[in-house]
Symmetry: C2
Subunit: 349 residues, 2 copies
Amino acid sequence: MVKPTLQDVANAVGVSRSTVSNAYSRPDQLSAALRAKILDAARRLGYPGPDPTARSLRRGYVGAIGVLFTSELSYAFTDPFAVRFLAGVGQVAERHSTSLLLVPLPGDRDRARAAVDNAAVDGFCVYCVGDEEHVLDAIRGRGLPLVTTAPDAAGPADSFVGIDERAAARSVAAHVAGLGHRRVALLGDTVLPDAPPGPLRLADPRDAPHPTTRGRLTGFADAFAAVGVPWSAITVVNTAGNSRAAAAAAVAPVLAGDDPPTAVLACSDVLALGVLDAAGPDSGLSVTGFDDVAEAAAAGLTTVRQPAEEKGRLAAALLLEPPADPADGHLLLPTDLVVRTSTGPVPRS
Amino acid sequence: MVKPTLQDVANAVGVSRSTVSNAYSRPDQLSAALRAKILDAARRLGYPGPDPTARSLRRGYVGAIGVLFTSELSYAFTDPFAVRFLAGVGQVAERHSTSLLLVPLPGDRDRARAAVDNAAVDGFCVYCVGDEEHVLDAIRGRGLPLVTTAPDAAGPADSFVGIDERAAARSVAAHVAGLGHRRVALLGDTVLPDAPPGPLRLADPRDAPHPTTRGRLTGFADAFAAVGVPWSAITVVNTAGNSRAAAAAAVAPVLAGDDPPTAVLACSDVLALGVLDAAGPDSGLSVTGFDDVAEAAAAGLTTVRQPAEEKGRLAAALLLEPPADPADGHLLLPTDLVVRTSTGPVPRS
DNA sequence: GGTAGCTTCTGAATCGATACAGCACTGAAT
DNA sequence: ATTCAGTGCTGTATCGATTCAGAAGCTACC
């Protein structure tokens, strides 16, 4: 038994294809009686209703928005901040009867492009992009609306929702500097594309390719420069992946070295928690994170809070309810410095 | 400027449409020189490559699998077990260059059906279904492959990957019974469709409509029946949602009542954690969960471990690499009873 | 009775691509 | 010179629906 099509239903009832189509999509275009007759025949024939693909082709829209993640798809579910962001996107999508297409973005440039080009969606919500500028170009090339969460990745036509990464980073770094810390290390995931885990030479924080990392490192640098600590005196540590374990592994040698830092500022809470793991309890090391995920509170982590779900909700809303004035497509969210027990004065040793 | 189509590129180069199509999808069908010329012209014209929707229509497949959740889409991201399951699905999908379409399933029957009917996917992976049998029927009606995680929801043609819910529940309940507990309460989310939070009359555990809940409650009942505690002596408590807060709110009155239970067995870790919240530390109450999510270990929760990511990976694999023999489409995963500190002997009072 | 105004339904064009049979040409073998 | 097998490319049918202008039928009013 082959799958019946709209035409088969039309034949069975003895009406035209258009009428059957109307029975499904525009009930006001035909009499209730005929409609009932058609739906009944459809049920009898086992016709499951209009084919979504064919319908999308003709209508010109799909009813799904793509969500892109720089790294593997599984990362989307590994970082608690990402999960909450997605939940926010999902809430709004749900209201619009829109699905979420999670697009795995392979590391390989060409395959990444292909993944974007092949995604059947009405728009893209890009959670975070590294130097994947070409992926954004692919989206723009398709003429699809795009909302990003990294300010300087946003082109003129793109929407944006996010925080002032640099200012937020400055606030937490200023707190650490204010406690007297001068020997500090910064910790980021994939600070430079192919760098191994561990300490890294980075001539200038603005050289970091990943916009979010760049913004945060630059903000950290700002605050320390303000108290006389030059960039060159700051250790930058790279991790292989945004995970607790990766962070612990990358930072352990640094903590064990000569002249270890008295404070470590991480680019995400997950990394910061890894630093706490590596340092062990009561080490006296000051550690800060970023995002304020649920685990941060339990661990007493000093961090910067940004509204995760709200960010997701707004991103989806920008896509699904585009503002009349494109100028309203750029949203800057507030952040809060949350001081907990993971930061304190420099221990005298 | 309108978006160019394949035809426009063909015209520009002076070849047929098919040749341009081949340049993209079957490079071996034309000379490298011509292919280069075509791709070059495409770039010049701003042609973004074949339209995914049109391609899907013609090819007959989409390159995406649907993931269905009974409750709201945001739930998918709220339950840690669901998140890990999804991560597993994502890993396998990634290997197959396949996207994940998360389909929000509205509570309303008709809209739920519509959501399924409109999803452009090659198959469905149903994380958990309540009494949503009609949704499964809709999927089958479309002739799409289906993998479920609830054994008795699986039709003959469906694949299945999951655990023996009843036996697993029996094992943890036997542990609690072995500790001497005889006054017990069971806690589940939406045990009956429209029941309010709090204690509930349920004549028989097998009356619970949700297959997973049904399996677990029945297993609990088995173990207590074996030590002489009849079903009628067991309190069943309903929650409004699978969250810590909902569980705490639903169970608090029960714990505060006359003749409170000495043990509470929950149908998920999240609920169990809520019970611990409600009971407070050192209450002497024994509490068990289900799934062994990350937070369970930290809270010392006695629970049943099941392999979350592996479950997701297998589910996706059944969809994307269907076994030659349909009999291999039913996978039963192992579970482990994990005894921690949240269970202990009955306190003498 | 004629025309205006509705509602209900039809037919052809269209969305943007892919599959497949078949044609034209090339070079080698007979 | 003729057949043959292989490349490389073209043309047409097709995927399964939606859209829209317009025809047909029916009521209603002057």
